[in-house]
Symmetry: C3
Subunit: 679 residues, 3 copies
């Protein structure tokens, strides 16, 4: 596991590209003046600076960078220093075309854009090693440099001959023989059998595109190859003598890489967060956004950094809406509440040209500090100073939701019951929201993480059971855990090969049922779940379901709800089964949010889950950070008007923020008290 990292302060700052302004020293001086006004104590430096650091092959210029870091440090501002591999200089592509990516159609890119280099290329790796080594040698002992920001927003894939060869080796390592791979991928179908690994090609719209086992292993390979490249980058820094902590900045709902595979590679997680505030009601965006924070936090189950966010409007979304007054502060406090030890912006000073010139910034083209946005940023800075002691505090969770990248890859690639839309993410969100509305911290775990210690674990749409998962669940329930599974679960193994003899595989006894068929519903079609009279959860309402309805045959499970219509009217729609000391619930259909809210509330209560705030109005978020024996309870109002809420101020007195029985629109109140789970 990655080591503990604590910078001793809530970081406030962001991406800074002074190399764009070296011709205007007065601007660089102005920057420092404004940073201090806005309580900025950090900059992320060097992202995309390669062409300035090494303008000609082998000719290095670090002096400007050193001067900047020195000046910042003198003014109390720390630097997170980036390796510049997010974009390569033109000369490199010109001289060594192998550094350019090849797409799935097997066309090699021209030079352009960013994040577009082959991770396998020995040339690119060597150039990276030299650059990182020199950076580390230069700055490893600089007191202003507090961490390494490795490259930028890793992503994408390359299908060049070098990558094809690496992929073949990867497969050989995994399967040893072509026959084993043939069985795993079911290649006898359509005569796709491989005689040897040399016959393998990566998926392509011009070649193999629906051999799901191949697709899945290719995605895994892309993650592994990226992990390998990240390790390579870090090793160069370590070899040069730097032991400063490292991170990569991750992205919202990014499917290209399984971020869990980086848990042991970087010292801490960071991510870039660009929610579309004000598009829908803010409390809905907050919920969505909160889940992403928790996904990031759960990778290492410790604090992360919010590495980028926008001070006002972005320039790349379809509509660039201004953040309304107070929104920036509320969003910033939410990040901290969910585990962030920073609020960092893209970008500190707006670039004068090129593709992101209209992206919001701390200092815009106008160039002065008398703007609305600068004022709002300063308020965030002030709040972060007050929150200093929260740095390093964790977010204890009694419940978890399983959200697994590989499961999603496989399920969304498989041609199955509803190619028009399975809604995996939305379904996971329903479980997450149902817990969050109770004011519970939620861990978002993958199938490799432990279940022990949680009172309730929900595993929606777990199409794939990775090796060992069903055994983990069995033990968890046997030992008294409460487990919630849904339709379309336990269907395939880790190479997307269907389990035979009944599903959910290996858990039919734990769930007390077998899934027999699954019905796809057209858009607009629906069915309903009707409570069984006298059901043990005391459910009384009827709920609508869409998209997918599973038909199950129960053995020992008890139906709690049944379908209302269609030829499966009267068949179970929600069941519970007692197994060992625990309970296993099965949700048979894609129910509306209200179903999850009621059912999960009752399940959590029954499982002994404790809540800090008893009654939480709609639009209010409650999160807890815990430092040793102190709990910080963040209560945030994401409604567009003030809201009344009764807080347990006797146990947890108000520490920060304004509270008089009511919380302001977009207001945040932090309570502080002795750690522990209370009701």
């Amino acid at each position: 596991m990655a080591r503990e990292v604590n910078f001793g302060k809530m970081l406030h700052g962001g991406d800074y590209n002074p190399e764009q302004w070296l011709h205007s020293p007065e601007i660089l001086e102005k920057d420092i003046e404004y940073f201090k006004k806005a309580k900025i104590n950090e900059v992320s430096l060097g992202i995309f600076s390669w062409a300035v650091l090494e303008p000609v092959e082998g000719e290095f210029h670090f002096e400007w960078m050193e001067k900047i870091i020195d000046r910042l440090y003198e003014n109390g501002i720390s630097t997170i220093l980036a390796t510049p591999t997010g974009a390569r200089p033109r000369w490199m592509a010109q001289k060594y075309p192998e550094v350019l990516r090849v797409d799935a159609s097997r066309h090699r890119n021209l030079y352009g854009e960013r994040h577009n280099h082959c991770y396998t290329s020995p040339v690119y790796r060597e150039k990276t090693r030299i650059m990182n080594t020199k950076l580390a040698e230069k700055f490893k002992d600089h007191p202003g440099v507090i961490a390494w920001h490795i490259s930028n927003e890793y992503g994408g894939e390359c299908h060049c001959p070098l990558c094809q060869a690496a992929f073949k080796n990867w497969l050989k390592d995994k399967y040893q023989t072509a026959d084993k791979m043939n069985r795993a991928w079911a290649t006898t179908f359509w005569s796709h059998r491989y005689n040897d690994f040399d016959q393998v090609d990566s998926p392509s719209p011009r070649g193999d595109s629906s051999l799901h086992g191949l697709n899945l292993d290719w995605k895994r390979f892309v993650t592994d190859q990226t992990v390998d490249f990240v390790k390579w980058e870090i090793q160069a820094l370590r070899d040069a003598g730097s032991d400063k902590p490292t991170t990569i900045n991750m992205m919202y709902d990014f499917q290209g890489l399984n971020y869990h595979k980086f848990a042991d590679v970087v010292d801490f997680v960071s991510w870039d967060n660009y929610p579309q505030w004000h598009k829908k009601e803010e409390y809905l965006t907050a919920m969505d956004n909160g889940m992403q924070h928790d996904i990031m936090r759960s990778i290492q189950k410790k604090p992360f950094l919010l590495m980028e966010n926008c001070p006002s409007a972005t320039n790349w979304q379809s509509v660039s809406k201004l953040k309304k007054p107070g929104m920036l502060h509320a969003a910033s406090m939410q990040a901290v509440a969910h585990g962030s030890d920073s609020i960092l912006y893209f970008q500190l000073r707006q670039s004068q040209g090129s593709s992101e010139k209209f992206h919001g910034a701390v200092i815009d083209h106008y160039g002065k500090d008398d703007t609305r946005v600068f004022k709002e940023i300063t308020e965030v800075g002030e709040s972060l100073e007050k929150l200093q002691e929260v740095t390093g505090a964790k977010n204890p969770a009694q419940v978890a939701v399983v959200y697994d990248w590989e499961n999603r890859w496989a399920m969304e690639d498989a041609q199955g019951p509803r190619n028009k839309g399975l809604f995996y993410k939305e379904t996971v969100e329903k479980s997450y929201y149902a817990f969050r509305k109770q004011g519970l911290n939620v861990d978002m775990i993958d199938m490799e993480q432990d279940l022990d210690g949680y009172k309730v674990v929900a595993a929606p749409m777990l199409y794939m059971f990775r090796e060992g998962f069903e055994e983990k669940v069995r033990k968890y329930v046997e030992n008294g855990g409460t487990f919630i599974l849904t339709y379309w679960s336990g269907i395939v193994d880790s190479t997307d090969l269907c389990f035979l003899e009944g599903t959910p595989h290996g858990l039919m006894d734990v769930m007390g049922l077998r899934s027999t068929e699954i019905d796809g519903l057209y858009d607009g079609e629906y069915n309903r779940g009707v409570p069984v009279r006298g059901n043990e959860l005391c459910l009384t309402k009827t709920y609508t379901c869409n998209h997918l309805c599973e038909l199950v045959k129960t053995s020992t499970a008890q139906p709690l709800m049944t379908y209302e219509t269609d030829f499966y009217a009267g068949m179970p729609a929600l069941t519970v089964n007692l197994f060992g000391k625990g309970k296993a619930y099965h949700v048979c259909a894609d129910f509306e949010q209200g179903f999850y809210d009621e059912v999960y509330r009752k399940i959590a209560k029954e499982a002994g889950v404790k809540r800090v705030v008893a009654h939480i109005p709609e639009g209010v978020e409650v999160s807890v950070r815990r430092n040793q024996d102190t709990d910080y309870v963040f209560v945030q109002n994401f409604n567009r008007q003030p809201v009344e809420v009764k807080l347990p101020v006797e146990q947890y007195p108000v520490w920060l923020g304004k509270y008089d029985g009511t919380i302001d629109r977009f207001g945040t109140v932090v309570l502080k008290g002795k750690a522990g789970e209370k009701e």
Copy 2:
């Protein structure tokens, strides 16, 4: 014409891929047990088996196949044996890249997917010849093998240099000189003249894409080259001494090949049918589906095989909906009613992996026979046994609709009055439905087939008049036939060159009018047809029309309806003309279904068409199969509730099914009586 084929039983079975389970002999034994339970008497074997039959070039393995065929035969199950050319093994693509297709952008495919080989490649042809020869040598005398299934779902095109050369030769054979081709294609437009055949390239998004004569001849070449390949496959079987009947499996509304060109190539037609039951009301789907059955049947005007259909939900449609109880049986009976001598499924046992692993099957991953679907399949098997004597019976038709592939190709490629949508298929359907709602069998013929013997022939949107067609119509009407033509007909000749001096070309006297202009209507725009007072069809209702309104100038024709609005208000919208001993009707606009229902009913009555059932409620289908002097009248209720219908049980007693004045939801009743056209 293809020879008569009668297997002496209604076939029940489908695609079977035991090569996927050779590692589990117990599964293969279980299969036979279940087949017998479900009254399965046929399997389609060897489709996509090439990689198992010839895993390495020149190394053949037929022993497993022989064992399977033997075991099936011992258990009373026949085999339709496939040539495996639907998918080639990887080694072949690796060693001989010329077998891989080149797309219209001139990029050669990588290995992958299926149905993707060059039909011209000498290497692919030679490998096919060797394989087919060996298969035939091995199995030609096996009593269990009853027919050859040539390849699978032919389709697609290749633009490789070999195909380009073949296309040039094809054109040279057709036109002899470049000048004749230039005239036929009107290449002087935009300076596109060819100096010689060597300058020809197939159509491409990167080159010629709107030279319609070229596009049309390319489509014809693709059909001819595919026909040539099918002949090549069959010849190898014949040369090896097999004279078993052959078929290819065709597809729903497939535009890539003119299936009529295969009428003399295969011994019988078969097709794969995957309607989206329950998406709209079932009786609408039944109507649509019925037309496809009749298109297939009309190619050879004799019984066909339903080669594939799905026992429950497919996995490749946008929404995979379960077939509701009774639907499989109703759809199966409809296929037989329209001329099928089989109900075959894709697939008998569900594959464990790859792209179709979730496609419905007789035996699913669960692997047992206590499923809902298995039970429904068994019921179909039982019904088919009862229907055995219907095998070989034809479907006599008094009326025909002209539906012509080449016409559709040309019309939909031409840039004309409504590029946003001409609705050819929908317009043909309106004519078909209008006849079917009267309980009439309908032949779906192309322009090369005979008109003689029909009482009414409808030819909707016959944009292209292929050579000789107008003369055929003239004689048909002269001799007393009733002919219905519509707007946008008789515009171009068979190379898409416009007829000069007035349209519908060659029929202006037969129709008694000339078309002068055609107006495109925007979506949502409409006009109306108003009956002329005292019109001879006694039409009294007003009908809406959309999309296209033709303006005609009558000579001898009489208007029956006129337009209601726009500057052509009062001009004819429907006319009739007496010509020789017959009558010719002209429909000027794209009218709603109700128009066709009323007008065709009155025209058919006037033309002396006889009906078996006088009053047919909505949602009920009536079809007749005739074996020598016996008629089998299938009456099916596709409504979601039982329906009352008065059947002529005195002339045709109930033979199969439940009838008490009412037919059940999805129920089928078969009457049996002396052949003949009754009213």
Copy 3:
């Protein structure tokens, strides 16, 4: 400036391709008979004739063309002769592949379609020079030939190595050093710096696609390279001794070329006009269409030719709607009213085959003159004869709207406040319509043209201030002009580099304000502008705005309207500032048309703009052409019913058309009187 051109008659004719009918001499004779009947006095000959003129390399055939021109001339019909470079013969592509274009993905086209040759290719230039020289030598002295039609509808771009080299030279000429280019394009962003010009590649989806400075200069290069090619074509004609006037035919709203750059290259402007009449209400289409006429006219501020339009329905629009009776005449008169000295059609005789065979024509496939369309064309011919004295008359304008190609290129490429849609064209139209509804001629100028002499100049969404523009505006207002600017103006310089220190750049004092932020609104979102009590324009109504709301901070400007809602409620939405002797208005948001109608009417009145017709009903257009001291006032009713309108018949008596206090549906009345601006 281009020279004055006056053919002494209103031209009536169009594209004529007799080379398609050389095999039918009787058809060519028939053509002349029909032309004369329809008052056709011109043909456009030789467009796309290359393959007939030079069927084999170096073998020329002009005899057929000479014969045609002679016969036409004998019959009083003039010829505008085309150079045939709109489409090359196949032999040229086959022998010299370099003439084929390479697309942005770097794939070279195959032969096909038209308008698809590399403008840089020395081979293509040489072949063009030879062809044009021979054409000019042959026909320069022919009295029937009155002008040169250079190629056809120029457009498109080529990314071949020859063009890449030319682009590099173009950049070198512009920037001298890579460093200057780096600064101008802000290439330090994402490490995109160039070490030398050799590293430049044109934009590509596979390479650089969001380097906006590069994109913009590429578009300029494409225009310049096309201009250079046009000059090359013309020079060949001049070198061969022809001094006949030249033109190129431009296209509706075509963004691929900055047409203003051709102002000094051709002797007169012409364009091809294909409005979709009857899709929406005709008066809306007329307004839209009128703006395009005025854009074309304003390029040289003198009469132009309508080079192509359709006699009835086109064949390439999504729905080909017939022109209703009277529409052709009304549209023709509108073209003349806006400055056209011709009505020319595509096409005189309909081609028998290929892609435009169903495009409307004077003589259609039927081939006779007793058609509705032929009759309507003849009526146009008769009206043009009556209008002969209007030939050469100009359209004096008191107001102008700035509509700038380069501004549009830059703004729509920049990733900014609303990538989903900025609505530049629609916003310009709102200004244009607001002037036109007052019966005012409007000049549509670009930033390089003069502002002097206009009473009001509106400059909507002028994102880019090209060099010198702000100074021009400053002087214009100082000297008493009325200037209207809007949101999102003065943001970047001519290389898309953001202005620092406040916007609208250089005009903050003139406008009396600074723009601080801009808010993007989602589809369906809106705000409203509320009049400030006692505002000096006496505005009293509230208007809705969408898409973009700018927040401004006023210095000396006075708010006339303020926002109604959101956090910027009460902030200015419309302002006015007194500056020098003039006034400057600022529109802060994307208001509805009604806002522009009222505000512009009041501004124009205040600025002393005179109107000929005091009260103009909706759907009526008023335009003025002036010949020396005579004004021709065209009043047209584009409503679907007659309309009452009071015309100043005492000052301007009715000269042509029917007027009795009312004008017919689609009717045109022309008044004639002494030149001068009256109220």
